[in-house]
Symmetry: C2
Subunit: 340 residues, 2 copies
DNA sequence: TATTACTACACAAACGTTTGTGTAGCTGAT
DNA sequence: ATCAGCTACACAAACGTTTGTGTAGTAATA
């Protein structure tokens, strides 16, 4: 900047204001500055600016992990929206551990991020570590896995609706004894998916049967275990809706191992629309989570918050609508061909 | 820091040096400073330090994308090793686009990252945008997809060895007409995999047949297309080795669609050991890439480089050994059962 | 004519650290 | 007695921006 100022015979103030399009700089001067900046290949030092302004162009993201489809896709969406707004993204993983989550939040604050986007770790039950974020006036947005009670800004999928769609779909296929593989109840998403399952049953006048609802951590193994348990029931089931695709995959593997036909004998539906749902045989019906939209929405929310830094807190929540992808594991055509 | 200095009646210099364990500060003073810092919950402003030192505790990473298994896992490894060394990671995607890659590198430099780790975009053919990184004295490490000719520090998989193992395995199963689905030749990895394939054939005294080598972008569709092309050959093949798992998946789908038995009629092997290789039927044999080790190695290399900032440039390369995961799509037991 | 308002710019302080240089007292070797 | 080499600390200048305040000159309004 000093070079530019010297070259043009103006002060650094003028340079700075010209570059940031300040109103008190004449259009002609702005042009001259911009042109010379390009010519000298001037690279602004964001660090200095951040230091002075107490705020950087970095956006901090904390996720439990970045495997599978969901979180990478959300991050993808975040990245895209953020870079459009001139922000860079810094991603941390909590590895499903509150302690690491706390450390991550500290790290991000120390990096003077402009905002923090968080999806909670599985075992996060208290939320004091986020107070510091708020008290520093840094916009805070939760996505997907959000604190159950706290007053926070968040963007979530309508998990209940997704589960309801999937379960209703199974009902429409003629299934009546539908089991549910549920996830840890203290995570909002699993709670809502379970509720959607129950609501769909209720709409068909079916009383919920607790022995058909199996709660676990939703891994493939958990799904397999649960499926075996369900097969051992005296009265056979005719469908399974799982709150996650890994679990339903485990279930599918058990069924195939025992020669039980899917969907003819038992229909399956999962949640997340993971990549492998289109690879298994039969392909798995699943609820798509609008991952990228979720990322974009989170960034949008952040931008709104940071546009009005000290506006009084108003809780905002964006709710995305899921979409059911019907595949072979539950398809009607196949069911009727199965001659049930 | 000013608070600390005032409280203890010393200068800020002393505080700063005490905190960074400078030799010219007495042990007693250091203790006092550290204790008070903890008590007042002093949070260092890394930005200011970075500005002053011209270097932050951020590590920049540029990858083509973060889907599938490979890059997320590498990033995982990077993250782990970096945080152990007190660095945070900032990830950018080039989306396989040189232009974006260039922009990403600029962004990272502007963020004053301490180092840059890069895996090249598919269409990156010139490397001027990395000169700026070097000229600023910022350590630069390439991983997996590296510039073919340039003198650079890098960590790569022994792709040739992996391909050789896979092809030799197919040969050991009795296959003799083995096709190869190759990737873009200007990317080192695909070149080496192709070479490994050729070397394995040579070791068995088999002359390469150009009509059996099909080059593409290695998507699932590409794999399917290639498989159809191979099936149309006058002389039938008995195995396919693909330089990527997506392509071999496409091939598998075509084979199953046509009722051709795998591995009895045609054996398959892929590369990457993607998650879905254990889900398909039959499960797919594939070469594992040691993703996390690659990330760790890249960080280690970076740390070495930044430990000796202005040492004369010595090209360093870490070569990781791949591991072949043999699964049903190529298993001997099944082959012999197939009665060939 | 006086007041206000706007344009166009410069001065200099601030952001929170790090670090080269300076100083003073002390120890041990020459 | 002198010098070198240590320890232990303070001063003040940097790092590259942003921004409140000040100062002119010009135009519009009262």
């Amino acid at each position: 900047m000093a070079d530019l100022a010297r070259e043009l015979g103006v002060s650094m103030t003028t340079i700075s204001r010209a570059l940031s399009d300040h109103h008190s700089i004449g259009a002609a001067t702005k042009q001259r500055v911009l042109k010379l900046a390009k010519k000298l290949n001037y690279q602004p030092n964001h660090l200095a600016a951040a230091l002075r302004k107490g705020q950087s162009r970095l956006l901090g993201v904390v996720v439990p992990y970045i495997e599978g489809k969901f979180f990478p896709s959300v991050i993808q969406g975040i990245e895209q929206a953020a870079s459009k707004a001139g922000f860079s993204v810094i991603v941390c993983q909590s590895h499903e551990d509150v302690q690491l989550e706390r450390r991550n939040v500290e790290t991000l604050l120390n990096a003077q991020v402009a905002g923090v986007l968080v999806s909670l770790a599985r075992n996060t039950q208290d939320f004091y570590h986020f107070d510091k974020v708020r008290s520093r006036g840094v916009p805070l947005v939760f996505f997907d896995r959000i604190p159950p009670t706290e007053q926070v800004n968040s963007v979530v999928l309508n998990d209940r609706e997704g589960a309801l769609q999937a379960t209703r779909h199974l009902l429409e296929q003629g299934c009546r004894r539908i089991a549910h593989l549920a996830g840890p109840a203290h995570l909002n998403i699993y709670q809502h998916r379970r509720q959607g399952y129950l609501d769909a049953l209720a709409a068909y006048g079916i009383a919920p049967d607790e022995s058909l609802i199996i709660t676990s951590d939703m891994t493939t193994d958990d799904g397999a275990r649960a499926m075996r348990q369900l097969l051992a029931l005296p009265e056979p089931i005719d469908a399974v809706f799982a709150a996650g695709d890994s679990a339903i995959l485990g279930a599918l593997q058990v069924l195939k191992g025992q020669g039980i036909r899917v969907p003819q004998d038992i229909a399956l539906a999962g949640f997340s629309n993971e990549g492998f749902t289109a690879i298994t045989e039969p392909q798995l019906t699943s609820v798509d989570q609008r991952c990228e939209e979720m990322g974009e929405a989170a960034v949008r929310l952040f931008l709104e918050l940071s546009a009005a830094p000290d506006a009084p807190f108003v809780q905002r929540q964006v709710v995305l609508q899921p979409e059911l992808f019907v595949r072979e594991s539950s398809r009607q055509g196949v069911l009727s061909l199965g001659g049930r």
